[in-house]
């Protein structure tokens, strides 16, 4: 363990921790943008600067090791001033269109600008870059006018998904996130998992499927298990006014043991079938080759009577039940109980073979 003094308070942390880790472990919050505990350290945004007594330069706390006896200030006047300048430098390439931004209210850059009173940038001589927002893929909106070059998307693409579809093109003020040859995602190795959206701290990368349907502060997030393949990823259904309006994920291993927040294109973007106008909303009974709408009572009575009649005339083994891998365990339990105890047959199977 090492012992250090932060804002006048003594804290302890395991040897090998960074200053940021030591502080977070002890409940001391330091602003970060490029830092992500699951990704390789970048140390590039400089939001996490802290003052260390006896050091001539401010330290980026996300990469600086915590040393025994260090005396750290995380919110001293000099640090606050430095953060303002950092934010202004980042703002020199950020389009403040917060009113219409999907991430309004869920944007770390917005939060920090508010907290440190940064309203605009002194460093926009010659204007901001204006990048076209024109990637035609149906999943991910790429608005690089809001990008602050934290590179979390690049690292998530490389380290979580291992697609390696994007990287940093050009340097300095001209740096930009791009696919090879700066083209469309569909022409790159991108698999549209949306891990880049998950880690983006601003509104540069957002879901086109959820666009306009509800902001983070308007939705309830319900933790559940994905309905597609057998991996069993945990995801969060975003609900607004009793409608599913999006999918996000929980990155804690304690709640998302299989995937730790990572999803695939189907899990993250394939949820709107729930609201499809094709959904069945009434029982149907076929008469003379055509379906007509029926009440639940009529339909259930008819099904029960027909099954009962066939059971009596042809025996239980003239009937079968196909249960489903799409249903819950509880429903599968009931479906096989229905086949065995009610119909009286072991003719029950499902799509495990298909």
């Amino acid at each position: 363990m090492v012992t250090l003094t932060v804002n006048g308070r003594q804290i302890k942390a395991p040897r090998g921790s960074t200053i940021l880790e030591a502080c977070r472990l002890n409940g001391i919050e330091i602003p970060t943008l490029c830092y992500d505990p699951d990704l390789r350290l970048a140390g590039s945004c400089r939001m996490c600067l802290v003052e260390a007594k006896g050091r001539p330069l401010f330290l980026a706390s996300c990469v600086a090791p915590a040393e025994d006896g260090m005396v750290i200030e995380t919110e001293s006047p000099d640090i606050v001033e430095a953060r303002r300048i950092v934010l202004e430098l980042l703002a020199a390439r950020h389009d403040f269109s917060c009113q219409t931004c999907e991430k309004n209210g869920d944007c770390k850059f917005q939060d920090y600008c508010y907290r440190y009173g940064v309203k605009d940038s002194r460093f926009t001589d010659g204007g901001r870059h204006v990048y076209p927002i024109d990637d035609p893929n149906p999943f991910i909106e790429r608005d690089y006018n809001k990008c602050i070059m934290c590179t979390r998307c690049v690292r998530a693409c490389e380290e979580i998904t291992v697609a390696r579809a994007i990287n940093v093109k050009d340097r300095g003020h001209n740096a930009k996130i791009a696919t090879a040859f700066d083209g469309h995602l569909a022409d790159s190795p991108c698999v549209f998992c949306g891990q880049c959206i998950m880690v983006c701290p601003v509104g540069a990368l957002t879901s086109k499927v959820s666009a306009g349907k509800g902001r983070a502060y308007e939705v309830d997030r319900v933790l559940t298990t994905c309905t597609y393949c057998g991996t069993g990823c945990t995801l969060e259904l975003n609900v607004k006014d009793n409608q599913v309006v999006g999918v996000t994920s929980n990155r804690s291993e304690e709640y998302s043991p299989v995937n730790k927040g990572a999803l695939c294109v189907k899990g993250r973007f394939g949820w709107d079938f729930i609201n499809s106008p094709d959904r069945l909303t009434t029982p149907l009974i076929k008469e003379n080759g055509e379906f007509r709408e029926a009440s639940w009572d009529e339909a259930l009575d008819l099904v029960a009577a027909r099954l009962q009649a066939i059971k009596e005339s042809s025996g239980p083994d003239s009937m079968a039940v196909f249960t489903s891998a799409r249903m819950t365990n509880e429903e599968n339990y009931l479906a096989q109980k229905f086949a065995r105890a009610v119909l009286g047959t072991n003719n029950v199977d499902h799509c495990a073979r298909l």
Partner: protein, 529 residues
């Protein structure tokens, strides 16, 4: 899976992927495999007729001909035995049947296997050495292994390979079938099978049956039931009169849809419970509207046997009911009162009858869930099975397995091998993904993968419609020219009703044990339109 998903990223030193296009069909597992290979130095062996994404980073890639898995694995075992790479201690202490297996494998030299599989003998040797010499080697497979007339043989061969090298019962080892559907593991666990009650308790076992008869209060049938594929065949023969289909879509997913269609039309009564008017529901006498996973509580069990909560996010849409309520209402109307206040009550009843789930409760499933077997309330769950080489039956049994050719082979009239599967952007019969706007916009139609040489010979250009035919029928489908498969193999997916490939597949070639259809091999031809 005998082991856990996490081990594929952290513990496995060698991953052998056969018959699984993991990055498309289990993308998040694919990510973990890639991470282990690229950043932690695990070796990767890939065997697949198509040069899938994972093949690009494999140490060895073997493009074996569809349907030659047994030969390929026997070839690897031949090398392992002849080069003394077996785990003799494991074989002696934990297994039986080695001699008979070794005797069969003796003739499968890499050169002999090369003739069957088209995989160069040297690659078979290399793969065998990498797998056998790794400290912890795991085999991942999926429907590419099982959907064959020799599906059971293929799986047994995989088990042979794992036992031969002692790669079972430790972290990072194992035999890992990657299950393709969210709750296919759970459906099997819950007794959604014609031969077992929940927890794989045989319906033919009298003591087990007595337990369920006591719990459910009725006499239960003693004979094994019919599998799904057999049910369709029996309906076709007129012996099955009534069918209750809950959330299944056989008119897209089953082999030879002409045959399925005739079978469904012969039924006296078909009831379909689903969220959409599926291809199958159109044939129903009564359709009952169910709800999606977002509208109900419950649990799913994933491919690593982890039972996790499903939580209701929204109320059922107007007019639809949760499937469990529909089943209860039907049972009650048929004179068997069934009433539960919540899915949790059903879970409590189930677990009392299911030893592998006995220690679970909704409270315990909060957070990380639990992996079965979890026999008691203080049991932590089981991340990997067969610890210390202890198998369910006692000793692990080697099977001596000869290679058998697929049932329907190419001939002059149908010179190609058609193999089917899924892609990243769609799921199974497309019921959900075709109605997810972005997914359907991105990949709106079926494509037939054709090797460039074949395309050139036939004058087919990329993107043009061709006719794909088998002895069962034909569909028109867009050609996609790609060199990821051999000249005599074509591939497409079964997601698209507009070009439903299961009109073409074969209902007659089933695995004799599992009754799984041979979706991965049938004889086909393509013609220019």
């Amino acid at each position: 899976m005998t082991n856990s998903i996490e081990e594929l990223e952290k513990d496995a030193k060698c991953i052998f992927v056969i018959g699984s296009n993991t990055t498309e069909n289990h993308p998040v597992i694919g990510m973990k495999i890639k991470k282990n290979v690229l950043y932690r130095g695990a070796k990767l062996i890939v065997a697949d007729p198509r040069r899938i994404d994972l093949a690009e980073m494999a140490d060895v890639y073997m493009a074996h001909l569809p349907g030659t898995d047994v030969a390929l694995i026997n070839g690897m075992m031949n090398v392992i035995i002849n080069e003394g790479l077996v785990d003799k201690e494991f074989i002696d202490n934990c297994t039986e049947g080695y001699e008979a297996m070794a005797e069969v494998v003796a003739k499968y030299t890499p050169e002999y296997v090369e003739k069957i599989t088209t995989v160069p003998a040297e690659d078979i040797r290399k793969a065998a050495r990498i797998y056998a010499e790794s400290e912890a080697a795991v085999i991942c497979y999926a429907m590419g292994v099982t959907q064959h007339s020799t599906g059971t043989d293929n799986v047994k061969s995989i088990c042979n390979l794992a036992m031969l090298t002692g790669n079972i019962g430790r972290p990072g080892t194992g035999v890992d079938p990657l299950r393709g559907q969210n709750n296919v593991q759970g459906s099997c666990d819950m007794g959604g099978l014609p031969v077992t009650y929940p927890g794989y308790q045989a319906v033919t076992n009298e003591a087990v049956r007595a337990k369920f008869e006591a719990a459910w209060g009725v006499p239960l049938p003693p004979n094994n039931g019919l599998t799904l594929t057999e049910t369709i065949n029996k309906a076709h023969e007129g012996q099955i009169k009534a069918l209750v289909v809950i959330g299944e879509n056989p008119m897209m997913s089953d082999p030879d849809l002409h045959h399925v269609e005739e079978a469904l039309e012969k039924l006296d009564f078909l009831v379909v419970q689903d969220i959409f008017l599926t291809e199958t529901a159109r044939y129903a006498d009564v359709v009952l509207p169910g709800v999606t996973f977002a509208e109900k509580d419950g649990t799913f069990t994933n491919t690593e046997r982890r039972v996790q909560r499903v939580r209701k996010a929204i109320d059922p849409i107007d007019g639809a009911k949760p499937d469990w309520q529909i089943i209860c209402e039907l049972a009650t109307r048929m004179g068997y009162p069934m009433h539960y206040n919540s899915p949790e009550e059903i879970f409590e009843e189930m677990k009392a009858l299911t030893p592998s789930y006995a220690g679970m409760s909704y409270a315990r499933l909060e957070g990380r869930g639990l992996q079965w077997p979890c026999p008691s309330a203080d049991h932590p769950g089981t991340p990997f099975l067969h610890k210390d080489g202890k198998f369910t039956r006692g000793k692990g049994l080697f099977s001596a397995i000869e290679f058998k050719e697929p049932r329907e082979l190419p001939d002059e009239e149908y010179p190609l091998i058609l193999t089917t599967g899924r892609n990243l952007y769609h799921y199974h019969t497309g019921t959900m993904t075709r109605r997810s706007v972005a997914l359907d916009k991105h990949v709106p139609e079926a494509e037939l993968e054709i090797n460039p040489h074949l395309a050139a010979k036939m004058g087919i250009r990329d993107g043009e419609k061709v006719r794909l035919s088998t002895r069962r029928g034909s569909v028109e489908i867009k050609a996609k020219i790609t060199d990821i498969l051999a000249e005599n193999v074509v591939f497409t997916t079964f997601h698209f009703h507009e070009a439903a490939v299961n009109w073409l597949t074969n209902a007659d070639s089933l695995d004799p044990v599992a009754k799984i259809p041979e979706y991965k091999v049938c004889a086909a031809r393509i013609d220019k339109i």
